[in-house]
Amino acid sequence: MSDINSQRRQFLKTSLGAAAVAIAPGMLLFDTAHGKTEAASSKVRWGMLVDTTQCKQGCNDCVTACNKENGLSGGTKATDSQWIRKIEIKDIGSGIETSLPMMCQHCEHPPCVDVCPTTASFKRADGIVLVDRHRCIGCRYCMMACPYKARSFVHEELFDQKPDVPRGKGTVEACNMCVHRIDNGQLPACAEACQNKAILFGDLNDANSEIAKKIHSVASVQIRADLRLNPGIRYQGI
């Protein structure tokens, strides 16, 4: 083999080695990147079907579970944050009493998003309506716009928030359908806590999901359907 050839070989080997060394850290980073790295998909629409016939009067399990999961105080004063609350309704004619949980209805056309001056209120691709507190200026237009009174304003400084649920003074907040749990493949805390399985959570767009099948087979309504907001939360038995 000629001298030039062997030198050339040596040169190629060295440069290959150098290239490998240069690329390796990047590959390593790529390999070790973990967590959920794909974005929420617009093919999915998360929703809930609440069976009010199974919702017990006086039972507060969903509310307690929500408070615990999200680090809420559990107070019910006008200035306390309530992401989900129990409502008792009575039909005057028949005297029938019904109990149901009320929270953010995760509308397809959310009025809170329409009115937000900083686009802090937004709808994620998978239909969950959220507040981006990095942008929220605390003007509370969304609270006025919401027909379901679903949103709360944080009036006081907070301490020891949950690592998964950052919350802070001067911003508006509401039920986020436990978005951190959904992204992790878990059920929202209220759906998991309900002993009577009155809250059915799932993908409304997936024809094979339990919730989609039930919506197509059992009569259910959206609250204030006349507003044509197409909420993702439906109620059965009212």
Partner: protein, 122 residues
Amino acid sequence: MKLLVSLLLCLCIPAVWAAEANTPPLDIGKGGQCVRDPQWMRKNHMHLLIHQRDETVRKGIRDDQVSLKNCVECHASLKDDSVVARDDSFCVGCHRYEAVKIDCFECHASKRKAALVKKDDK
């Protein structure tokens, strides 16, 4: 050549000393390097955090490696589980030195998850 090398050494060593002397004392918790080298992170961590916060909140991309939660998980002090509790805590040490206010922890948890779970159980 030798002269040049010794001259360079004379110039560099005090510079390194000075840099060391000027850095505030930091409690780095468990520490370790997972994203980039410390010098790069000192300069650029805020860009990573601001980029990732929008990715996570608005798109739902939860990359553990660059999440604030995971930074706290490793860098919280081993003594008090916090990144902001004391003057030499991981975030406070430098931010006080540079006089840059951090408002992350008005909303975000400044303690590692294990510490908060313990508190919940009590």
